[in-house]
């Protein structure tokens, strides 16, 4: 019996000829990411270990580590500012060159930088101190989120334990309608399998719809696998992957694919012809209904931001709908990285957004996690391109978030109610 792409990557990384789901391996790691929340957390782990007489020692490979400042930038208060100072000193002391600093050229949300900057390559094992690290699996890598202790361990040992996950294969076929985005598809999948439907497992996407999706849309699929509890999300690399990376890296990489006789835990077939624009109602990403069921739901805010929903393709999709129209509710657009912001300016997207009445903000995770830069007040209702709608996620515990595609959010901004993009005149 052959191996899936995830099993192959983990077997190579752990120098085993063959792994099967359930095996525990210590996998060598290629790339590690920390940000301004997990970074100080990792530093705290090292401090606690030092107190117990276990000094940190050297970082295994500073060239394979990169840092983003994204959650609390621009600094929301003195504590956040101190965290960035602490992180900067630590990076310098440990010789980490790839530090994407707020206010120094390219910076942005960690998961966006990982693909936008070509930091992670197909076939690699990539771990990040953030749950949405799964995003980068769309590049054909094994990408998984870890906590502070595990990241500290990887930084000093270059490897980490994994239980080899069983793979769930999602075959997406049919002709995808123009108004149907990857976000609609993944919300429907999470609705079917539930927020623990892929717990400890791999979600792999394939089929002609995936083949035809541009890289940034594929990244939305893998990004949201975290919301089904998946260890990783993955898509086999193809010409879309190599084209995307051509201008982003000079490094060589291997295009690992599943064996023809690979064994999947379960195979789910989806016909995308019949799928409709959908939203996840509060307070769970699995609470999914078609948009037209909610068309009288009034909203207070439309949010286009985050690693999930503020890539260039997301901004283009939203701009197509907002062009020449005015927003009726508070609308915020925060490109996911400085480079995407710049491309949006050059393409005229920012002008479209501003003429519609939306405000444009700097790249940050702030509002998505209810931390700063536009949190929701008591009772406020938001329709958002982000990934989570738990109680209090985007602000007050009595606020509500509806998760949707950038097209649905843009259409809703225009009407002030949750709106299917097909219903915009």
């Amino acid at each position: 019996m052959g191996m899936t792409i995830t099993e192959k990557i983990l077997s190579h990384a752990s120098n085993c000829n063959k792994v099967t789901p359930g095996d525990v391996v210590f996998a060598n790691v290629n790339k590690v990411m920390i940000h301004d929340v997990s970074g100080p957390g990792v530093m705290k782990v090292f401090k606690e270990l030092e107190k117990k007489g276990k000094p940190m020692g050297k970082i295994w490979n500073p060239d394979n580590v990169w840092i983003s400042e994204d959650h609390f930038v621009p600094a929301s208060d003195r504590v956040s500012a101190d965290n960035v100072i602490q992180l900067t000193k630590w990076a310098q002391k440990n010789g980490i060159q790839k530090h994407f600093k707020y206010g120094f050229g390219q910076y942005g949300i960690c998961h966006t930088l990982s693909h936008e900057e070509g930091l992670v390559l197909p076939g690699e094992v990539y771990v990040g101190g953030d749950s949405h690290t799964n995003t980068t699996g769309a590049m054909g890598a094994f990408a998984a989120g870890l906590g502070h202790t595990d990241i500290a361990y990887v930084l000093t040992h270059g490897k980490i334990w994994f239980k080899v996950p069983e793979t769930l294969l999602f075959k997406l076929s049919g002709k995808r309608p123009a108004h149907l985005m990857a976000k609609d598809i993944i919300l429907n999948i999470i609705s079917d399998i539930g927020t623990d439907g892929a717990n400890y497992k791999t979600m792999q996407f394939a089929g002609n719809v995936v083949d035809e999706l541009e890289m940034e849309e594929r990244l939305t699929l893998t990004n949201m696998t975290t919301e089904a509890g998946a260890k990783n999300g993955i898509i086999e690399p193809d010409t879309v992957t190599t084209e995307y990376l051509k201008h982003r890296t000079q490094q060589k990489f291997n295009l690992i694919k599943s064996d023809a006789d690979a064994e999947f835990g379960e195979v789910f077939e989806y016909d995308c012809d019949k799928m409709e624009p959908s939203v996840a109602k509060p307070f769970s990403p699995e609470n999914v209904v078609v948009v037209r069921e909610l068309q009288n739901t009034e909203i207070d805010k439309a949010y286009i931001g985050s690693c999930t929903g503020a890539k260039l393709s997301d901004l283009r999709s939203a701009a197509k709908i907002l062009k020449g129209r005015k927003v009726r509710v508070r609308t915020e657009v925060l490109p996911a990285a400085q480079s995407i912001y710049m491309k949006a300016i050059k393409e005229g997207l920012v002008t479209i957004f501003m003429e519609s009445g939306a405000v444009i903000g700097p790249p940050t995770c702030g509002a998505c996690c209810g931390a700063h830069m536009g949190v929701l007040g008591k009772g406020e209702i938001c329709v958002s391109t982000t990934n989570r709608n738990f109680p209090g996620r985007m602000g007050h515990v009595e606020s509500q978030t509806y998760l949707a595609s950038p097209m649905v959010v843009a259409a809703s901004a225009i009407t002030g109610k949750i709106t299917d993009p097909r219903d915009i005149q």
């Binding site: 525990v24 210590f26 929340v37 997990s38 100080p40 957390g41 530093m43 705290k44 782990v45 270990l49 276990k54 959650h71 609390f72 929301s76 208060d77 504590v79 956040s80 965290n83 101190g129 953030d130 749950s131 690290t133 989120g145 870890l146 906590g147 502070h148 202790t149 595990d150 500290a152 361990y153 040992h157 490897k159 334990w161 239980k163 927020t195 623990d196 717990n199 400890y200 509890g229 260890k231 769970s284 996690c369 209810g370 931390a371 700063h372 989570r388 738990f390 109680p391 209090g392 996620r393 515990v397």
Partner: protein, 164 residues
């Protein structure tokens, strides 16, 4: 290992990390300060109720959501020694084990209805049982840890584990 303590029960499923320790506190890395905000999203009185060595009894998929290690840290520093649940989200589970903060223990779903809030229980990790001392010492089975998990627990966290 035998542990005794009081149960604090929140039987809701999918208690996520935004509820266990809300986003605005992610910038805090002082463990004692984090503890003062534990479970703030579901029970603002939580930290007043918990004594050192107590247990949580919670619905399935506990700890879903973000990878924030703040979640097991806040619970552990507020006094929680072990969490009983039908299932845990993966990153929460490994953070709890690898950081050596507390013990995530898997139970059968029906136990959730049998044991009540404030019951005094005993968890026996040698013979994989729970004894409900408030209810005539009724015994329930718990799911044993897998090999690697029990070895990391025994070592006291991943940094003390040397069998790589």
């Amino acid at each position: 290992m035998i542990l005794q303590g009081t149960v604090h029960k929140y039987s809701k499923a999918n208690i996520d990390t935004d509820v266990i320790i809300p986003g605005p506190y992610l910038k805090i890395h002082d463990h004692d300060e984090l503890a003062t905000h534990a479970m703030e999203g579901i029970d603002p009185e939580f930290t007043k109720k918990v004594s050192d060595g107590d247990f949580l009894l919670v619905g399935n998929n506990f700890g879903c959501g973000s990878s924030r290690e703040h979640a097991p840290i806040a619970l552990s520093k507020s006094g929680i020694r072990a969490i009983l649940s039908p299932s845990f989200a993966r990153i929460f589970y490994r953070n709890a084990i690898d950081g050596g903060y507390l013990l995530p223990i898997e139970i059968d779903e029906n136990i959730l209805d049998q044991i009540d809030d404030k019951d005094k229980i005993e968890i026996n990790l040698e013979n994989h049982t729970i004894k409900d001392m408030t209810k005539d010492n009724k015994i329930y089975d718990i799911k044993p840890f897998s090999k690697i998990i029990s070895e990391i627990v025994e070592a006291g966290g991943l940094f003390n584990y040397n069998k790589t």
